[in-house]
Protein backbone atom coordinates (compact mmCIF):
# COMPACT_ATOMS: atom_id res chain seq x y z
CA UNK A 1 0.00 0.00 0.00
CA UNK A 2 1.26 3.49 -0.81
CA UNK A 3 2.00 5.85 2.07
CA UNK A 4 -0.76 8.14 0.91
CA UNK A 5 -4.16 6.53 1.41
CA UNK A 6 -6.16 9.21 -0.38
CA UNK A 7 -4.72 11.35 -3.13
CA UNK A 8 -6.90 13.63 -5.21
CA UNK A 9 -5.86 15.97 -7.94
CA UNK A 10 -8.13 18.87 -8.93
CA UNK A 11 -11.11 16.72 -8.01
CA UNK A 12 -14.26 18.54 -9.06
CA UNK A 13 -17.96 17.83 -8.95
CA UNK A 14 -20.60 19.99 -10.56
CA UNK A 15 -24.34 19.38 -10.35
CA UNK A 16 -25.61 21.42 -13.27
CA UNK A 17 -24.21 24.91 -12.73
CA UNK A 18 -23.59 24.37 -9.04
CA UNK A 19 -20.03 23.49 -8.05
CA UNK A 20 -20.21 21.12 -5.08
CA UNK A 21 -16.49 20.30 -4.96
CA UNK A 22 -14.01 22.62 -6.60
CA UNK A 23 -10.61 21.27 -7.73
CA UNK A 24 -9.57 19.84 -4.41
CA UNK A 25 -6.11 18.37 -3.89
CA UNK A 26 -6.60 16.18 -0.86
CA UNK A 27 -3.81 14.06 0.52
CA UNK A 28 -4.44 11.78 3.48
CA UNK A 29 -1.55 9.89 5.02
CA UNK A 30 -1.99 6.14 5.42
CA UNK A 31 -2.63 5.27 9.05
CA UNK A 32 -3.75 8.75 10.02
CA UNK A 33 -7.07 9.95 11.37
CA UNK A 34 -8.00 13.02 9.37
CA UNK A 35 -10.99 15.28 9.82
CA UNK A 36 -12.92 16.92 7.02
CA UNK A 37 -14.44 20.05 8.50
CA UNK A 38 -16.83 22.53 7.02
CA UNK A 39 -20.30 23.94 7.36
CA UNK A 40 -23.37 22.63 5.60
CA UNK A 41 -22.87 22.58 1.83
CA UNK A 42 -19.07 22.71 2.14
CA UNK A 43 -18.74 19.59 -0.03
CA UNK A 44 -17.71 17.05 2.63
CA UNK A 45 -20.39 14.45 1.85
CA UNK A 46 -19.87 14.82 -1.92
CA UNK A 47 -16.12 14.36 -1.42
CA UNK A 48 -16.65 11.21 0.64
CA UNK A 49 -19.15 9.89 -1.91
CA UNK A 50 -16.63 10.45 -4.71
CA UNK A 51 -13.94 8.64 -2.73
CA UNK A 52 -16.32 5.68 -2.49
CA UNK A 53 -17.16 5.85 -6.18
CA UNK A 54 -20.84 6.52 -5.39
CA UNK A 55 -20.63 9.82 -7.25
CA UNK A 56 -18.64 10.21 -10.44
CA UNK A 57 -16.49 13.36 -10.48
CA UNK A 58 -16.92 15.92 -13.24
CA UNK A 59 -13.14 16.19 -13.58
CA UNK A 60 -9.92 15.49 -11.74
CA UNK A 61 -8.29 12.38 -10.38
CA UNK A 62 -8.68 10.35 -7.20
CA UNK A 63 -6.51 7.50 -5.99
CA UNK A 64 -7.63 5.54 -2.96
CA UNK A 65 -5.30 2.97 -1.37
CA UNK A 66 -3.19 3.25 -4.50
CA UNK A 67 -6.03 2.54 -6.95
CA UNK A 68 -7.84 4.87 -9.32
CA UNK A 69 -11.27 5.01 -7.67
CA UNK A 70 -12.92 6.38 -10.79
CA UNK A 71 -11.87 3.63 -13.17
CA UNK A 72 -10.87 0.70 -10.94
CA UNK A 73 -13.10 1.06 -7.89
CA UNK A 74 -13.83 -2.65 -7.58
CA UNK A 75 -10.14 -3.38 -6.98
CA UNK A 76 -10.29 -1.44 -3.75
CA UNK A 77 -13.90 -1.47 -2.48
CA UNK A 78 -13.33 -4.59 -0.39
CA UNK A 79 -10.80 -2.62 1.67
CA UNK A 80 -12.99 0.46 2.24
CA UNK A 81 -16.15 1.00 4.23
CA UNK A 82 -18.21 3.92 5.44
CA UNK A 83 -20.93 5.12 7.71
CA UNK A 84 -23.17 8.10 7.13
CA UNK A 85 -26.35 9.57 8.60
CA UNK A 86 -27.62 9.97 5.01
CA UNK A 87 -28.00 6.22 4.58
CA UNK A 88 -29.71 3.53 6.59
CA UNK A 89 -29.99 -0.22 6.95
CA UNK A 90 -33.19 -2.10 6.06
CA UNK A 91 -35.40 -1.68 9.12
CA UNK A 92 -37.31 -4.95 8.88
CA UNK A 93 -34.17 -7.08 8.83
CA UNK A 94 -32.69 -7.99 12.19
CA UNK A 95 -29.29 -6.64 13.13
CA UNK A 96 -27.77 -10.09 12.57
CA UNK A 97 -29.39 -10.39 9.13
CA UNK A 98 -28.17 -6.95 8.08
CA UNK A 99 -24.63 -7.68 9.21
CA UNK A 100 -24.77 -11.10 7.53
CA UNK A 101 -25.82 -9.53 4.23
CA UNK A 102 -22.95 -7.05 4.28
CA UNK A 103 -20.49 -9.73 5.39
CA UNK A 104 -21.66 -11.72 2.35
CA UNK A 105 -21.25 -8.78 -0.02
CA UNK A 106 -17.70 -8.18 1.21
CA UNK A 107 -16.94 -11.91 0.90
CA UNK A 108 -16.11 -12.43 4.56
CA UNK A 109 -15.27 -15.94 5.74
CA UNK A 110 -16.61 -17.07 9.12
CA UNK A 111 -19.12 -14.26 9.15
CA UNK A 112 -20.98 -15.61 12.21
CA UNK A 113 -17.82 -15.50 14.29
CA UNK A 114 -16.99 -12.05 12.98
CA UNK A 115 -20.49 -10.73 13.64
CA UNK A 116 -20.34 -12.07 17.18
CA UNK A 117 -17.02 -10.34 17.71
CA UNK A 118 -18.42 -7.02 16.43
CA UNK A 119 -21.59 -7.46 18.46
CA UNK A 120 -19.45 -7.93 21.58
CA UNK A 121 -17.37 -4.87 20.76
CA UNK A 122 -20.37 -2.61 20.08
CA UNK A 123 -22.56 -4.02 22.87
CA UNK A 124 -25.08 -5.31 20.33
CA UNK A 125 -25.42 -8.90 21.55
CA UNK A 126 -28.88 -8.43 23.07
CA UNK A 127 -30.14 -6.66 19.91
CA UNK A 128 -28.77 -9.08 17.33
CA UNK A 129 -32.11 -10.75 16.64
CA UNK A 130 -34.22 -7.63 16.89
CA UNK A 131 -35.43 -5.79 13.75
CA UNK A 132 -33.09 -2.86 13.11
CA UNK A 133 -36.07 -0.48 12.88
CA UNK A 134 -36.97 -1.19 16.50
CA UNK A 135 -33.67 0.12 17.82
CA UNK A 136 -33.07 3.60 19.21
CA UNK A 137 -31.09 6.01 17.04
CA UNK A 138 -28.02 5.50 19.25
CA UNK A 139 -28.27 1.72 18.92
CA UNK A 140 -28.73 2.07 15.16
CA UNK A 141 -25.59 4.22 14.98
CA UNK A 142 -23.68 1.43 16.70
CA UNK A 143 -25.06 -1.09 14.20
CA UNK A 144 -24.05 1.24 11.41
CA UNK A 145 -20.51 1.42 12.78
CA UNK A 146 -20.42 -2.36 13.16
CA UNK A 147 -21.45 -2.62 9.50
CA UNK A 148 -18.69 -0.13 8.59
CA UNK A 149 -16.16 -2.45 10.24
CA UNK A 150 -17.59 -5.70 8.85
CA UNK A 151 -14.76 -6.04 6.30
CA UNK A 152 -12.02 -4.80 8.66
CA UNK A 153 -11.39 -1.90 6.27
CA UNK A 154 -8.00 -0.34 5.64
CA UNK A 155 -9.81 2.93 4.96
CA UNK A 156 -12.83 4.03 6.93
CA UNK A 157 -14.87 7.01 5.76
CA UNK A 158 -17.13 8.30 8.49
CA UNK A 159 -19.71 11.04 8.15
CA UNK A 160 -20.75 12.34 11.61
CA UNK A 161 -20.03 9.00 13.32
CA UNK A 162 -21.15 10.07 16.80
CA UNK A 163 -23.93 12.50 15.88
CA UNK A 164 -26.81 10.63 17.53
CA UNK A 165 -24.93 9.01 20.40
CA UNK A 166 -25.13 9.97 24.07
CA UNK A 167 -21.87 11.46 25.44
CA UNK A 168 -20.76 8.23 27.12
CA UNK A 169 -21.33 6.05 24.04
CA UNK A 170 -19.80 8.71 21.78
CA UNK A 171 -16.72 8.72 23.97
CA UNK A 172 -16.56 4.94 23.85
CA UNK A 173 -16.86 4.97 20.03
CA UNK A 174 -14.02 7.49 19.77
CA UNK A 175 -11.82 5.25 21.90
CA UNK A 176 -12.78 2.29 19.75
CA UNK A 177 -11.88 4.11 16.53
CA UNK A 178 -8.59 5.34 17.99
CA UNK A 179 -7.78 1.80 19.09
CA UNK A 180 -8.83 0.34 15.74
CA UNK A 181 -6.59 2.74 13.81
CA UNK A 182 -3.64 2.09 16.13
CA UNK A 183 -3.93 -1.70 16.08
CA UNK A 184 -4.70 -2.17 12.41
CA UNK A 185 -2.90 0.77 10.84
CA UNK A 186 -6.15 1.73 9.13
CA UNK A 187 -6.73 5.23 7.79
CA UNK A 188 -9.81 7.10 8.97
CA UNK A 189 -11.29 10.13 7.25
CA UNK A 190 -14.14 11.61 9.22
CA UNK A 191 -16.47 14.47 8.58
CA UNK A 192 -17.64 15.97 11.84
CA UNK A 193 -19.08 19.08 13.40
CA UNK A 194 -17.89 18.03 16.82
CA UNK A 195 -14.66 19.97 17.39
CA UNK A 196 -13.71 18.23 20.62
CA UNK A 197 -14.00 14.92 18.78
CA UNK A 198 -11.76 16.20 16.00
CA UNK A 199 -9.31 17.66 18.51
CA UNK A 200 -9.07 14.35 20.33
CA UNK A 201 -8.92 11.95 17.37
CA UNK A 202 -7.33 13.70 14.44
CA UNK A 203 -3.74 14.34 13.57
CA UNK A 204 -4.77 16.33 10.51
CA UNK A 205 -7.67 18.67 9.80
CA UNK A 206 -8.86 19.67 6.34
CA UNK A 207 -11.10 22.74 6.32
CA UNK A 208 -13.62 22.96 3.48
CA UNK A 209 -15.80 25.82 2.47
CA UNK A 210 -18.09 26.03 -0.55
CA UNK A 211 -16.45 23.06 -2.20
CA UNK A 212 -12.87 24.17 -1.69
CA UNK A 213 -10.14 23.25 0.73
CA UNK A 214 -9.38 26.52 2.47
CA UNK A 215 -6.82 25.30 4.99
CA UNK A 216 -5.33 22.19 6.49
CA UNK A 217 -2.88 21.08 9.14
CA UNK A 218 -2.54 19.65 12.63
CA UNK A 219 -5.30 20.94 14.97
CA UNK A 220 -2.76 22.65 17.24
CA UNK A 221 -0.97 24.23 14.27
CA UNK A 222 -4.24 25.64 12.96
CA UNK A 223 -5.18 27.00 16.38
CA UNK A 224 -1.81 28.75 16.60
CA UNK A 225 -1.96 29.97 12.99
CA UNK A 226 -5.30 31.68 13.52
CA UNK A 227 -4.36 32.91 17.01
CA UNK A 228 -7.35 31.20 18.61
CA UNK A 229 -7.84 29.08 21.69
CA UNK A 230 -9.90 26.24 20.24
CA UNK A 231 -10.52 24.50 16.95
CA UNK A 232 -14.13 25.66 17.12
CA UNK A 233 -12.95 29.28 17.07
CA UNK A 234 -10.79 28.50 14.04
CA UNK A 235 -13.79 26.90 12.35
CA UNK A 236 -15.91 30.00 13.03
CA UNK A 237 -13.13 32.32 11.86
CA UNK A 238 -12.86 30.44 8.57
CA UNK A 239 -16.62 30.40 8.19
CA UNK A 240 -16.64 34.22 8.43
CA UNK A 241 -13.81 34.85 5.96
CA UNK A 242 -14.15 35.45 2.25
CA UNK A 243 -14.87 32.30 0.25
CA UNK A 244 -12.09 33.11 -2.20
CA UNK A 245 -9.40 32.42 0.39
CA UNK A 246 -6.61 30.68 -1.50
CA UNK A 247 -5.82 27.06 -0.70
Amino acid sequence: MSKIAIDTEALTKKFGNKIAVDKINLKVRAGSITALLGGNGAGKTTTIAMLLGLILPTSGKARVLGEDIIHSRYKVLTRINFSSPYVDLPKRLTVRENLRVFAGLYGIHNSNKHIKSLADSFALVEFLDRPTGQLSSGQRSRVSLAKALINSPSLLLLDEPTASLDPATADWVRSYLEDYATKTGATILLASHNMSEVDRLCSEVVMMKRGRIVDQGHPKTLIEKYGRKTLEEVFLEIAKTDTNTPE
Binding site: A20, G53, L77, D88, L93, Y106, G107
Partner: protein, 278 residues
Protein backbone atom coordinates in the same frame (compact mmCIF):
# COMPACT_ATOMS: atom_id res chain seq x y z
CA UNK B 1 -10.84 -4.84 21.29
CA UNK B 2 -11.07 -8.14 19.49
CA UNK B 3 -8.72 -8.42 16.58
CA UNK B 4 -10.98 -8.53 13.58
CA UNK B 5 -8.35 -8.60 10.86
CA UNK B 6 -8.92 -12.29 10.33
CA UNK B 7 -11.02 -12.41 7.24
CA UNK B 8 -10.05 -13.08 3.68
CA UNK B 9 -12.09 -11.70 0.83
CA UNK B 10 -13.04 -14.64 -1.31
CA UNK B 11 -12.92 -13.78 -4.98
CA UNK B 12 -13.93 -10.21 -4.28
CA UNK B 13 -12.34 -8.91 -7.46
CA UNK B 14 -14.27 -11.28 -9.71
CA UNK B 15 -16.31 -9.27 -12.22
CA UNK B 16 -19.32 -11.40 -11.35
CA UNK B 17 -19.67 -13.48 -8.20
CA UNK B 18 -22.44 -15.94 -7.42
CA UNK B 19 -21.95 -15.35 -3.68
CA UNK B 20 -22.78 -11.65 -4.05
CA UNK B 21 -25.92 -12.44 -6.06
CA UNK B 22 -26.97 -15.11 -3.56
CA UNK B 23 -26.27 -12.72 -0.68
CA UNK B 24 -28.65 -10.19 -2.22
CA UNK B 25 -31.18 -12.96 -2.77
CA UNK B 26 -30.81 -13.86 0.90
CA UNK B 27 -31.41 -10.21 1.80
CA UNK B 28 -34.77 -10.28 -0.05
CA UNK B 29 -35.69 -13.64 1.48
CA UNK B 30 -34.99 -12.22 4.95
CA UNK B 31 -37.35 -9.40 4.09
CA UNK B 32 -40.01 -11.79 2.86
CA UNK B 33 -39.84 -14.01 5.93
CA UNK B 34 -39.96 -10.98 8.25
CA UNK B 35 -43.73 -10.80 7.69
CA UNK B 36 -46.11 -13.72 7.09
CA UNK B 37 -48.66 -11.19 5.83
CA UNK B 38 -46.31 -10.37 2.97
CA UNK B 39 -46.06 -14.04 2.02
CA UNK B 40 -49.82 -14.43 2.24
CA UNK B 41 -50.30 -11.30 0.15
CA UNK B 42 -48.18 -12.77 -2.64
CA UNK B 43 -50.69 -15.60 -3.06
CA UNK B 44 -53.78 -13.53 -2.19
CA UNK B 45 -54.33 -11.61 -5.45
CA UNK B 46 -53.61 -14.46 -7.86
CA UNK B 47 -56.01 -16.65 -5.86
CA UNK B 48 -58.75 -14.00 -5.77
CA UNK B 49 -58.34 -13.37 -9.50
CA UNK B 50 -58.46 -17.07 -10.23
CA UNK B 51 -61.64 -17.55 -8.16
CA UNK B 52 -63.44 -14.58 -9.71
CA UNK B 53 -62.51 -15.35 -13.32
CA UNK B 54 -63.03 -19.04 -12.70
CA UNK B 55 -66.69 -18.52 -11.80
CA UNK B 56 -67.12 -16.26 -14.82
CA UNK B 57 -65.56 -18.99 -16.93
CA UNK B 58 -68.04 -21.50 -15.51
CA UNK B 59 -70.96 -19.20 -16.26
CA UNK B 60 -69.78 -18.55 -19.82
CA UNK B 61 -69.30 -22.28 -20.38
CA UNK B 62 -73.07 -22.60 -20.19
CA UNK B 63 -73.58 -19.72 -22.64
CA UNK B 64 -73.52 -19.79 -26.47
CA UNK B 65 -69.88 -18.97 -27.07
CA UNK B 66 -67.63 -21.26 -29.04
CA UNK B 67 -64.21 -20.12 -27.85
CA UNK B 68 -65.01 -19.59 -24.20
CA UNK B 69 -66.41 -23.09 -23.98
CA UNK B 70 -62.87 -24.38 -23.85
CA UNK B 71 -62.48 -25.51 -20.28
CA UNK B 72 -60.19 -23.34 -18.20
CA UNK B 73 -59.44 -20.80 -20.96
CA UNK B 74 -60.02 -17.82 -18.68
CA UNK B 75 -58.37 -19.47 -15.69
CA UNK B 76 -55.23 -20.24 -17.72
CA UNK B 77 -55.19 -16.67 -19.07
CA UNK B 78 -55.58 -15.20 -15.59
CA UNK B 79 -52.84 -17.36 -14.11
CA UNK B 80 -50.39 -16.71 -16.95
CA UNK B 81 -51.09 -12.97 -16.89
CA UNK B 82 -50.35 -13.09 -13.20
CA UNK B 83 -46.99 -14.72 -13.91
CA UNK B 84 -46.05 -11.68 -16.00
CA UNK B 85 -47.52 -9.20 -13.53
CA UNK B 86 -45.81 -10.87 -10.52
CA UNK B 87 -42.50 -11.08 -12.36
CA UNK B 88 -42.64 -7.34 -13.12
CA UNK B 89 -43.71 -6.33 -9.65
CA UNK B 90 -41.24 -8.74 -8.02
CA UNK B 91 -38.34 -6.86 -9.61
CA UNK B 92 -39.78 -3.38 -9.11
CA UNK B 93 -40.87 -3.80 -5.47
CA UNK B 94 -37.56 -5.39 -4.42
CA UNK B 95 -35.81 -2.48 -6.11
CA UNK B 96 -38.06 -0.01 -4.27
CA UNK B 97 -37.29 -1.73 -0.95
CA UNK B 98 -33.70 -0.50 -1.24
CA UNK B 99 -34.86 3.04 -1.91
CA UNK B 100 -37.44 3.02 0.89
CA UNK B 101 -34.78 1.80 3.31
CA UNK B 102 -32.16 4.34 2.01
CA UNK B 103 -29.82 1.43 1.48
CA UNK B 104 -28.55 2.05 -2.07
CA UNK B 105 -25.38 3.86 -1.06
CA UNK B 106 -24.50 1.14 1.47
CA UNK B 107 -24.93 -1.54 -1.18
CA UNK B 108 -22.90 0.21 -3.84
CA UNK B 109 -20.09 1.24 -1.54
CA UNK B 110 -19.59 -2.54 -1.27
CA UNK B 111 -18.16 -4.67 -4.11
CA UNK B 112 -21.69 -5.42 -5.39
CA UNK B 113 -21.94 -4.73 -9.13
CA UNK B 114 -25.15 -3.23 -10.53
CA UNK B 115 -25.65 -6.19 -12.90
CA UNK B 116 -25.30 -8.59 -9.96
CA UNK B 117 -28.03 -6.62 -8.24
CA UNK B 118 -30.20 -6.83 -11.38
CA UNK B 119 -29.70 -10.63 -11.44
CA UNK B 120 -30.65 -10.90 -7.77
CA UNK B 121 -33.79 -8.83 -8.44
CA UNK B 122 -34.75 -11.23 -11.25
CA UNK B 123 -34.07 -14.23 -8.99
CA UNK B 124 -36.22 -12.99 -6.10
CA UNK B 125 -38.91 -12.10 -8.61
CA UNK B 126 -38.96 -15.76 -9.75
CA UNK B 127 -39.34 -16.96 -6.15
CA UNK B 128 -42.08 -14.42 -5.40
CA UNK B 129 -43.96 -15.40 -8.57
CA UNK B 130 -43.81 -19.10 -7.72
CA UNK B 131 -45.04 -18.40 -4.17
CA UNK B 132 -47.86 -16.27 -5.59
CA UNK B 133 -49.09 -18.24 -8.57
CA UNK B 134 -48.58 -21.92 -7.66
CA UNK B 135 -51.12 -21.96 -4.78
CA UNK B 136 -53.72 -20.32 -7.05
CA UNK B 137 -53.03 -22.87 -9.78
CA UNK B 138 -53.38 -25.74 -7.30
CA UNK B 139 -56.61 -24.32 -5.85
CA UNK B 140 -58.13 -24.20 -9.35
CA UNK B 141 -58.06 -28.01 -9.40
CA UNK B 142 -60.65 -28.63 -6.63
CA UNK B 143 -62.58 -25.42 -7.44
CA UNK B 144 -63.09 -25.91 -11.19
CA UNK B 145 -61.64 -29.34 -11.95
CA UNK B 146 -59.10 -27.53 -14.10
CA UNK B 147 -55.37 -28.04 -13.86
CA UNK B 148 -53.11 -25.65 -15.74
CA UNK B 149 -50.37 -28.27 -15.23
CA UNK B 150 -52.16 -30.43 -17.83
CA UNK B 151 -50.57 -28.16 -20.44
CA UNK B 152 -47.36 -30.06 -19.76
CA UNK B 153 -44.03 -28.91 -21.22
CA UNK B 154 -45.57 -25.94 -23.14
CA UNK B 155 -46.55 -24.46 -19.76
CA UNK B 156 -42.83 -24.19 -18.92
CA UNK B 157 -42.25 -22.39 -22.22
CA UNK B 158 -45.11 -19.95 -21.53
CA UNK B 159 -44.00 -19.43 -17.92
CA UNK B 160 -40.36 -18.80 -18.85
CA UNK B 161 -41.24 -16.30 -21.58
CA UNK B 162 -43.66 -14.35 -19.38
CA UNK B 163 -41.19 -14.36 -16.46
CA UNK B 164 -38.45 -12.93 -18.67
CA UNK B 165 -40.70 -10.31 -20.25
CA UNK B 166 -42.16 -9.27 -16.87
CA UNK B 167 -38.64 -9.06 -15.45
CA UNK B 168 -37.47 -6.90 -18.37
CA UNK B 169 -40.39 -4.51 -17.84
CA UNK B 170 -39.57 -4.50 -14.09
CA UNK B 171 -35.98 -3.45 -14.84
CA UNK B 172 -37.19 -0.68 -17.16
CA UNK B 173 -39.63 0.59 -14.53
CA UNK B 174 -36.89 0.45 -11.86
CA UNK B 175 -34.61 2.46 -14.16
CA UNK B 176 -37.35 5.08 -14.56
CA UNK B 177 -37.78 5.36 -10.78
CA UNK B 178 -34.02 5.72 -10.35
CA UNK B 179 -33.94 8.39 -13.04
CA UNK B 180 -37.06 10.38 -12.09
CA UNK B 181 -37.21 9.67 -8.36
CA UNK B 182 -40.05 8.51 -6.17
CA UNK B 183 -42.55 10.53 -8.21
CA UNK B 184 -42.36 7.65 -10.70
CA UNK B 185 -42.90 5.01 -7.99
CA UNK B 186 -46.48 4.21 -9.06
CA UNK B 187 -45.13 2.99 -12.42
CA UNK B 188 -44.03 -0.14 -10.57
CA UNK B 189 -47.68 -1.09 -10.17
CA UNK B 190 -49.40 0.46 -13.17
CA UNK B 191 -46.71 0.33 -15.89
CA UNK B 192 -47.38 -3.27 -16.87
CA UNK B 193 -51.10 -2.56 -17.45
CA UNK B 194 -50.11 -0.48 -20.48
CA UNK B 195 -49.12 -3.76 -22.10
CA UNK B 196 -52.11 -5.81 -20.94
CA UNK B 197 -54.72 -4.65 -23.52
CA UNK B 198 -52.44 -5.50 -26.44
CA UNK B 199 -51.12 -8.78 -25.08
CA UNK B 200 -54.23 -10.72 -26.12
CA UNK B 201 -54.69 -12.19 -22.66
CA UNK B 202 -58.46 -12.78 -22.89
CA UNK B 203 -59.05 -12.28 -26.62
CA UNK B 204 -57.14 -13.00 -29.84
CA UNK B 205 -54.82 -10.32 -31.27
CA UNK B 206 -56.99 -10.36 -34.43
CA UNK B 207 -59.73 -8.40 -32.63
CA UNK B 208 -57.42 -5.39 -32.30
CA UNK B 209 -57.31 -2.67 -34.97
CA UNK B 210 -54.69 -3.49 -37.58
CA UNK B 211 -52.23 -0.79 -36.53
CA UNK B 212 -52.45 -1.99 -32.93
CA UNK B 213 -51.89 -5.58 -34.02
CA UNK B 214 -48.46 -4.53 -35.41
CA UNK B 215 -47.54 -3.16 -31.98
CA UNK B 216 -48.99 -6.21 -30.22
CA UNK B 217 -46.89 -8.64 -32.26
CA UNK B 218 -43.79 -6.78 -31.08
CA UNK B 219 -44.55 -8.01 -27.56
CA UNK B 220 -43.49 -11.50 -26.41
CA UNK B 221 -46.68 -11.71 -24.32
CA UNK B 222 -48.91 -11.56 -27.43
CA UNK B 223 -47.12 -14.59 -28.87
CA UNK B 224 -47.41 -16.46 -25.55
CA UNK B 225 -51.17 -15.87 -25.15
CA UNK B 226 -51.84 -16.75 -28.78
CA UNK B 227 -49.79 -19.89 -28.20
CA UNK B 228 -51.83 -20.66 -25.08
CA UNK B 229 -55.09 -20.35 -27.03
CA UNK B 230 -53.77 -22.57 -29.80
CA UNK B 231 -52.80 -25.20 -27.25
CA UNK B 232 -56.15 -25.10 -25.46
CA UNK B 233 -58.38 -24.93 -28.53
CA UNK B 234 -56.46 -27.06 -31.03
CA UNK B 235 -54.14 -28.96 -28.73
CA UNK B 236 -51.17 -27.71 -30.77
CA UNK B 237 -48.00 -26.15 -29.46
CA UNK B 238 -47.11 -23.44 -31.97
CA UNK B 239 -43.31 -23.56 -32.13
CA UNK B 240 -43.10 -20.44 -34.30
CA UNK B 241 -44.97 -18.39 -31.70
CA UNK B 242 -42.63 -19.72 -29.00
CA UNK B 243 -39.52 -18.88 -31.04
CA UNK B 244 -40.85 -15.38 -31.78
CA UNK B 245 -41.51 -14.79 -28.09
CA UNK B 246 -38.04 -16.08 -27.15
CA UNK B 247 -36.28 -13.87 -29.74
CA UNK B 248 -38.27 -10.81 -28.63
CA UNK B 249 -37.46 -11.62 -25.01
CA UNK B 250 -33.73 -11.63 -25.76
CA UNK B 251 -34.18 -8.12 -27.17
CA UNK B 252 -36.38 -6.90 -24.29
CA UNK B 253 -34.20 -8.36 -21.54
CA UNK B 254 -31.07 -7.04 -23.25
CA UNK B 255 -32.65 -3.58 -23.52
CA UNK B 256 -33.99 -3.73 -19.95
CA UNK B 257 -30.54 -4.55 -18.57
CA UNK B 258 -28.83 -1.96 -20.79
CA UNK B 259 -31.22 0.82 -19.76
CA UNK B 260 -30.97 -0.20 -16.09
CA UNK B 261 -27.15 -0.08 -16.18
CA UNK B 262 -27.13 3.18 -18.15
CA UNK B 263 -29.46 4.86 -15.66
CA UNK B 264 -27.39 3.47 -12.79
CA UNK B 265 -24.34 5.22 -14.23
CA UNK B 266 -26.40 8.37 -14.68
CA UNK B 267 -27.38 8.08 -11.00
CA UNK B 268 -23.70 8.05 -10.05
CA UNK B 269 -23.12 11.18 -12.14
CA UNK B 270 -26.08 12.98 -10.56
CA UNK B 271 -25.44 11.79 -7.00
CA UNK B 272 -28.79 9.98 -6.85
CA UNK B 273 -27.47 6.89 -5.03
CA UNK B 274 -27.15 9.01 -1.91
CA UNK B 275 -30.07 11.37 -2.45
CA UNK B 276 -32.87 9.11 -3.61
CA UNK B 277 -35.32 8.08 -0.92
CA UNK B 278 -38.68 8.84 0.55
Amino acid sequence: MTNIITNAHKGSNQPIAIYRISTMLLRYLYLLKSSWIRILELAYWPTMQMIMWGFLNQYLMSAESSVIKIAGMLIAAVLLWDVMFRSNIGVAVSFLEEIWSRNLAQLFASPLRPYEWALSLLSISLIRTIIGVIPAAILAIPFYSYSIFDMGIPLIAFFANLMIFGGAVGLLVSALVLRYGMGAESLAWVGIFLIAPISGIYYPISVLPEWLQTIAWALPSAHVFEGMRALLTENVFMTDLFINAAILNVLYMGSGLAVFLYVFRLARIRGLLIQIGE
